[in-house]
């Protein structure tokens, strides 16, 4: 992206709630901004004063280590003061409502609240009621915008552009906020998207979003430019959705054998945490086509960009 297009857009959002509400221009603007912050990560002193004096609260009502850590490091690099609150440590366990807890954070001058919550729509709920910036770090099965942005960033970095690519997302789509945010972002930037997984976890209804649904991974893999494998869980609440890990691997696992069908330059992505040997063969996860660790590193740049853009918006 050129300097010209950067200057054409003025960032106007105090919140980042989802990818669906963003325009292609806004997405590209965030990716471009992240380029600059990625450079910061290569310096000896990896810290800039962009959010000095601002307070960021990592409010994680649902457990997370990876995303929380990434936001925390991103905020520290921007010189913000960071507080972490988990569900078990918050007043939510004492019956306080989400609104009241968040209002307390605001009254404590939290400039930015990064929210992870098990209910779809919780970040929007807070954004409508608070003047603090709300950054969605994953809400229910709804959206996980920074994950999609870092995925788009990684794809753009490796492939030069997102438009025209065929991106295949494999696994538990129904319950995945990563899948939804990726679908919205990829389509906005002009990619073609195919969803693959068990019919119970990849309902045909998704085709109404503008993607293709397939239950035959072997047929799809040869045309893929990117394969994004989502974490498969076969815990208590998923027992009704597919019979077991063995059958999943046989039908949808990215085995070494199956990977031979991939184009040599096809990227393999995974938002983590990986179940080695389930979604993906262990060696493939560490192989030449894998960009899984790039995703993590790019996540820092994306989160710095998002915090910088939204946190810098003056609130009324």
């Amino acid at each position: 992206m050129t300097e010209q297009s950067k200057s054409a857009l003025r960032w106007q959002r105090k919140d980042l709630l989802g990818i669906r509400e963003l325009s292609a221009e806004e997405i590209t603007f965030i990716l471009d901004t992240a380029d600059a912050f990625k450079e910061v990560g290569t310096r000896e002193i990896k810290k800039v004063p962009a959010l000095r004096g601002k307070t960021l609260v990592n409010f994680f009502v649902e457990p997370s280590t990876r995303t929380r850590t990434s936001f925390e490091i991103a905020a520290i690099r921007l010189s913000a003061d960071v507080i972490n609150i988990s569900a078990s440590a918050s007043s939510l366990t004492k019956g306080e409502t989400l609104k009241d807890t968040a209002k307390i954070l605001e009254a404590n001058h939290a400039d930015i609240i990064v929210l992870r919550h098990s209910s779809s729509g919780a970040p929007q709920f807070l954004a409508e009621r608070l003047t603090s910036s709300i950054i969605n770090a994953g809400d229910g099965a709804h959206e996980h915008p920074t994950q999609a942005l870092l995925d788009l960033y990684t794809i753009r970095e490796r492939k030069g552009a997102v438009a025209g690519l065929h991106v295949v997302i494999v696994g538990d789509i129904l319950f995945s906020r990563v899948a939804r945010s990726n679908i919205f972002g990829l389509l906005k930037l002009g990619a073609r998207v195919t969803l693959v997984g068990p019919s119970t976890l990849v309902p045909r209804e998704f085709e109404k979003l503008g993607v293709t649904v397939s239950y035959d991974i072997d047929e799809i893999l040869p045309t893929a430019d990117v394969v994004n494998l989502l974490r498969i869980q076969h815990e208590r609440q998923r027992k009704e959705y597919f019979p077991g890990i063995g059958e999943y691997i046989r039908l949808f696992g990215l085995t070494k054998d199956r990977a031979k069908r991939l184009k040599p330059d096809c990227l393999i992505m995974h938002p983590g945490p990986i179940n080695r040997g389930v979604e993906i063969d262990s060696e493939l996860a560490d192989g030449a086509q894998s960009v899984i660790l790039d995703q993590v590193t790019n996540g820092l740049a994306i989160r710095m960009a998002v915090l910088y853009l939204c946190g810098g918006i003056a609130t009324p």
């Binding site: 669906r20 409502t97 989400l98 609104k99 919550h117 098990s118 209910s119 779809s120 729509g121 919780a122 929007q124 709920f125 809400d139 229910g140 099965a141 709804h142 959206e143 319950f175 906020r177 939804r180 309902p203 209804e205 998704f206 109404k208 979003l209």
Partner: protein, 426 residues
């Protein structure tokens, strides 16, 4: 005390009457005009020119929240909201605290209503003890205490065998069985209609089949037990088809429709506003079309609100966590007239009034719902052409959980008369 309502269009579907005439009442009873013998100066006159004069409307699906949840609604405030909506008789659901599964709770509700309610309040009793779906409530004792139906509304008996026995027992006692149709396994944690919007928003879906399965179950049991089952708040196209086919075979099964399932579709949930969260959920356009067809051909013979008050602090939470339900007593008549009579022209006013009077009265086996001489003078005056805007802040209900605040509607009750006394007047 003699009252004459002058020059209104009297619509009394039970007597197939539709004419401009005067309606007379003496001491809280409807009488023939010829019985008014007092001098004109002693007659209380009400001018009803250009108004509809019809039997007091009945809403057989209302949550009054007492005993137990007085911060949401009370019998007094709920009755006031009913009167303001044109209703003279309301039927309240048993999911109170304590649950209305014992004669003492029914007696408390009746006593309280007699003391504070400005309209007739008829309680229902639970099907199962504690609404737990495991053991039968004392249905005969509930009947003796004065319930007009049994239902586990808010919950649904999942055990088909228990439901079968409840229906058989209720037949002996002579009480109709109402059912909130929801298969818990199919619905799971669903909070919105399973379809495009649940897929897009990642909200747990509540599939239509979760209602249709229980409607079908009820058809089978109504047939097996030869007794009436009334399916509450029907929302899905498939349910309408199942009811239509069963009724054609003579099965004793009926269904009711709530205004929100006609006025709104599931796209309304896209901003996660919990005032659009109800159970069953708002469904798709094709479901609305099927409900309208069901109303037009008589498959769905009863209109009701499912008035479900909740406090603002209860509704102002994450979408998943919010309680289901909206208030509806003050908007339902306006919404139905506006939609069914004016906009969609699905039915005419006499049909609409039939669905609010004689049809629920027959189901409940109560002596309300007609203007026959000798009957209690419960009368509603309606201006079907009145254009008005609903202002939730001016509501009679304690709770304000409505998606219809600020809606412009055409058609409204302008006076509600209970036992000859004006309970509410615009």
């Amino acid at each position: 005390m003699s009252t004459v309502i002058r020059n209104g269009r009297i619509i009394d579907p039970a007597n197939k009457r539709d004419e401009v005439a005067d309606l007379a009442m003496i001491d809280g009873r409807i009488v023939d005009l010829s019985e008014i013998r007092t001098s004109p100066s002693e007659i209380d006159e009400i001018d009803a020119t250009n108004l509809i004069v019809c039997p007091g409307l009945i809403d057989l699906h209302v949550h009054l929240r007492e005993p137990g949840f007085g911060w949401k609604e009370t019998i007094e405030s709920g009755a006031r909201a009913a009167a303001a909506g044109g209703f003279t008789t309301i039927v309240c659901m048993p999911n109170t605290s304590p649950i209305a599964d014992s004669p003492s709770t029914i007696a408390w509700i009746k006593d309280r209503a007699a003391e504070v309610a400005c309209v007739n309040v008829l309680p229902t009793g639970a099907i199962s003890k504690g609404l737990m779906g495991e053991e039968l409530a004392p249905i005969s004792s509930l009947g003796q205490a004065g319930v007009v139906a049994i239902t586990d509304d808010g919950r649904c008996v999942q055990n088909n065998e228990l439901m079968r026995r409840a229906v058989e027992y209720a037949r002996m006692v002579g009480l109709p069985v109402f059912d909130h149709c929801q298969d818990y396994n199919l619905v799971g944690t669903g909070v919105v209609h399973e379809g495009y919007w649940s897929t897009l928003l990642g909200l747990p879906g509540w599939p239509s089949a979760g209602e249709e399965a229980i409607v079908m179950r009820n058809v089978l049991l109504a047939e097996l037990c030869d007794h009436h089952i009334h399916c509450q708040h029907i929302s899905a196209a498939g349910s309408v088809r199942i009811l239509r086919e069963a009724q054609a075979r003579g099965v004793r099964i009926s269904g009711e429709v709530c205004p929100h399932h006609l006025a709104l579709t599931d796209d309304a949930i896209q901003n996660f506003d919990t005032n659009f969260k109800m159970n069953p959920p708002l469904r798709g356009k094709e479901d609305v079309t099927a409900l309208l067809e069901g109303i037009a051909d008589g498959t769905l013979g009863i209109l009701a609100s499912d008035h479900a008050p909740h406090a603002k602090f209860e509704k102002e939470v994450e979408f998943d966590a919010a309680p289901f339900g909206i208030v509806g007593l003050e908007t339902e008549l306006g919404l139905f007239i506006d939609l069914l009579v004016h906009k969609k022209k699905t039915i005419d006013l006499p049909r609409l009034i039939e669905m609010f009077t004689v049809n629920p009265a027959r189901l409940l086996q109560i002596e309300a719902g007609t203007l026959s001489p000798g009957r209690t003078a419960d009368v509603t005056l309606i201006d079907p052409e009145l254009e008005w805007t609903f202002d939730a802040s001016a509501s009679q209900s304690i709770s304000r959980n409505t998606p219809f605040d600020g809606w412009k509607l055409k058609g409204r009750a302008v006076r509600t008369i209970v036992s000859g006394q004006t309970a509410w007047k615009l």
